[in-house]
């Protein structure tokens, strides 16, 4: 069925009339297919509706990349928006005065106990000293389960003789404090979001342990009800993030998008197996591809983008050789640098290059400032920087929310770059170019 759907998608998305801009009709046609794909992926029906609406607005009037059909362009936009939406929020855990408490909550069988042990292992690898406390007194052998897992990874499990989950949690916290533990992970019993008594119990456990992190453990195979479940847990215990489990299967995992959309809470980890080291940080990009399930279209898009980047690089080199270096070039090289980020380590290992890679740490904030300044220039100013006089500088500074000095610095940086480009054109090595780029925009 999925294959049939994918075929259909390729047909419609490929067949759309070629045109330079996305118009209402093109977007509408593509969106119908995308809607279907999202529904097949178990994204909640209402979330699909809202998402499709907002992307439709964003897509209208956008340019279509060369070598993509308009339909593929829409998929590209959807893919980016999905990743952006799911990537929002801080995926790190919060830590406070030790012991930091992490409370694991969720429906029955979602993977809380397993994830508790996985998290403990992960935290210990990060240099923490964690402990586990099982407060699931309901499920047969739930405590033994956590104890056995704890033993496998040699992390203390605080078993208690008490018969009340709240008391067990409180006792666990006291023990953690006494034993100098810095993170206490509380594994609770699975419960239905409509079970008033058990939800009240969860609130009591929360109030007794004051967790810095409440994590909703959610099965990636969950269907339309993910929204109802997440909203209920959100309302009653206000969780901070999500662990998505069983992602090692072939579930498309639309629940991830649903939960993010209705609660706004970040997905912090992905659980990808039963073994205790199979817990990963969440990759919104990958999840976006998975939910869309349009592998072929997406790889097409990727190829098109690579081609464009290659074109860009060739174009840039040509311009550099001619000794020209406008603010458009500046912006483009900046962006190329950013994409290069993960490559830095590898490049640094190449003899001779290592030194030049130093100072290449273009941090995101700085990046954003430089971008803001350049984007506040008119296209003409970007092309012909010598136009930028005093009053223009003032306007640009205001427009980008920085000081005139910073605008000045950037103007100087560009001039330096242009000089270097001229040397490059004459065949000299621009020794400082990456550093110069890296410095620009630093306060």
């Amino acid at each position: 069925m999925f294959d049939a759907l994918a075929d259909k998608l390729q047909g419609v998305l490929g067949g759309l009339r070629k045109s330079g801009r996305l118009d209402e009709e093109t977007i509408g046609k593509a969106m119908r297919e995308i809607r279907l794909a999202l529904l097949e992926a178990d994204v909640n029906f209402k979330v699909v509706k809202e998402f499709v609406e907002s992307v439709r607005e964003r897509a209208l009037g956008q340019d279509v990349l060369k070598s993509l059909t308009p339909g593929q362009q829409v998929v590209k936009i959807v893919h980016e928006e999905l990743a952006a939406l799911m990537g929002q929020g801080d995926s790190r855990l919060a830590f406070g005065r030790p012991p930091t408490v992490i409370l694991m909550v969720g429906l029955q069988g979602s993977g809380k106990t397993t994830a508790s042990a996985k998290l403990a292992l992960r935290l210990r690898k990060e240099g923490k000293n964690p402990a586990l406390v099982p407060v699931d007194l309901a499920r047969p052998a739930a405590i033994e389960q956590l104890e056995q897992l704890g033993k496998q990874i040699q992390i203390p499990v605080y078993r208690s003789e008490l018969r009340d989950p709240v008391a067990v949690a409180r006792e666990g916290l006291e023990r953690a404090r006494a034993e100098g533990i810095d993170v206490l992970i509380v594994d609770t019993a699975g419960r239905l979001h409509v079970d008033e008594a058990l939800m009240a119990e969860l609130v009591a456990i929360r109030d007794a342990t004051k967790p810095m992190n409440i994590l909703l453990v959610l099965d990636a195979m969950t269907g339309q009800e993910a929204v109802t479940v997440a909203e209920a847990f959100q309302q009653q215990v206000a969780f901070d993030g999500v662990i998505l489990t069983k992602l090692d299967g072939d579930a498309r995992g639309g629940a991830a998008l649903s939960v993010k959309a209705v609660t706004g809470k970040p997905i912090k980890f992905a659980s990808v197996g039963e073994k205790l080291d199979q817990l990963e940080v969440f990759h919104p990009e990958r999840m976006s591809s998975r939910i869309l399930g349009m592998g072929d279209v997406l790889s097409l898009i990727e190829k098109a983008e690579e081609a464009i980047e290659a074109d860009d690089a060739v174009e840039m080199e040509k311009r550099m050789r001619s000794g020209e270096f406008t603010f458009d070039d500046f912006l483009q090289s900046y962006r190329m640098l950013r994409r290069m980020g993960p490559l830095k380590g590898v490049l640094g290992m190449i003899p001779g290059l290592g030194k030049q890679m130093e100072g290449l740490d273009v941090d995101e904030k700085q990046m954003a400032r430089v971008e803001a300044i350049i984007l506040s220039m008119t296209p003409k100013e970007r092309r012909t920087p010598h136009l930028i006089n005093g009053s223009r500088r003032l306007r640009i500074a205001r427009g980008s929310g920085v000081s005139v000095q910073e605008v000045n610095k950037l103007l100087t940086a560009r001039k330096e770059m242009q000089k270097m480009m001229k040397h490059l054109g004459k065949g000299k090595m621009p020794a400082l170019s990456p550093q110069a780029l890296g410095r620009a925009g630093r306060r």
């Binding site: 178990d42 069988g109 052998a141 979001h193 409509v194 099965d219 269907g223 993910a226 929204v227 069983k246």
Partner: protein, 324 residues
């Protein structure tokens, strides 16, 4: 009439206590007394006009919200469209839903011992279902043995042992990491030697995409069959009602691997109503045999298509509520 245990087990009908039957409906509808399911709400909100395309669209959307899936939703809408007149949308839809399921299910227990193999993805409720089923079977006068074929998950054996005790069933344990096929073999040997009526074998949860684990399961089945030709007499796939479209894939692949004879739909006491069993029953022809409606010994029921249809659309629960 809701399908009773006697019919499911193929026993002479003992009168079912009215109390438990009424309790069933309440549970099946879960939190419905307080809040209706999202699907039920949508259906109730539709002002049905068969000549208006929009209402058909709304109906289809409502069904998608119940995890029925785009295709099965389309099929249901088409079937409704072919009806001459529709008095009450909820009732009509519930009937169509019920009509997609085959005849009332039966558990094949006419063997000594009858062997039931229980399979499914992780955390759906296999072990718990075995506990409940064993209890129901011992209550029906059968002697039952359960075998701890999950030799992988931490404390899986201990968990099943607790359930066996609760259910009054005999128990064959296992060692961590032992070959599950060997455990199944031991369980059947013991079942025969001790003269039990039913042997139920638990297995570790596994995703249908894990080929090596599916191979392992195929081997378990083969060993059972070799030890007792004709067995396993039932191979039950346990499916979580909150599962979305992936459920269809699970059913397909488990069926291909170990010839599933029926589905157990668990966790119906939540707000999810398990609409995915509709394409499973209709496209794959797999009967749903049992439903799980909670975490205690008594929370297992025979599957009744009409009740399921009514619970799904949240329409008039019929005779059962009348008695409430």
């Amino acid at each position: 009439m809701t399908l009773g245990w006697a019919e499911l087990l193929g026993d002479a009908a003992a009168p079912e206590p009215e109390e438990s039957r009424r309790g069933l409906f309440r549970r099946l509808r879960g939190g419905l007394s307080r809040s209706r399911t999202a699907l039920a709400e949508r259906i109730a909100a539709i002002r049905f006009d068969p000549d208006d395309d929009e209402t058909w669209q709304e109906l289809e959307e409502a069904l998608i919200l119940g995890d029925v899936g785009v295709q099965a939703a389309g099929e249901l809408v088409q079937r409704l469209g072919r009806r001459r007149s529709i008095d009450d949308l909820g009732t009509a839809l519930a009937e169509e839903v019920a009509g997609l399921f085959g005849p009332p299910p039966r558990l094949d227990l006419a063997h000594k011992p009858a062997v039931i193999l229980v399979v499914g993805v992780n955390g759906t409720g296999k072990t718990t279902t075995i506990g409940k089923l064993a209890s129901r079977l011992t209550a029906s006068g059968r002697s039952v043995l359960v075998g701890a074929g999950d030799t992988f998950r931490a404390a899986a054996e201990e968990q099943l042992e607790v359930w066996a005790k609760r259910a009054g069933a005999d128990f064959v344990g296992s060692n961590k990491g032992q070959d599950p096929a060997a455990v199944a073999f031991d369980a059947i040997e013991a079942g025969i030697a001790r003269g039990h009526d039913v042997v139920i074998i638990d297995t570790a949860g596994r995703l249908h995409t894990q080929t090596n684990l599916m191979e392992e399961l195929i081997k378990v089945r083969r060993v059972i069959e070799r030890r007792l030709p004709g067995a396993p007499h039932e191979t039950l796939l346990v499916l979580d009602a909150t599962t979305g479209q992936n459920g269809l894939q699970q059913a397909k692949i488990f069926s291909q691997a170990v010839q599933v004879t029926g589905v157990v739909l668990t966790k119906l006491d939540g707000t999810a109503k398990g609409g995915i069993v509709i394409p499973i029953a209709y496209d794959l022809g797999l009967p749903v045999k049992l439903i799980g409606v909670g975490e205690t010994l008594d929370d297992l029921r025979p599957f009744d298509a009409a009740d399921f249809g009514r619970a799904l659309v949240g329409g008039d629960p019929g005779e059962d509520t009348a008695a409430d």
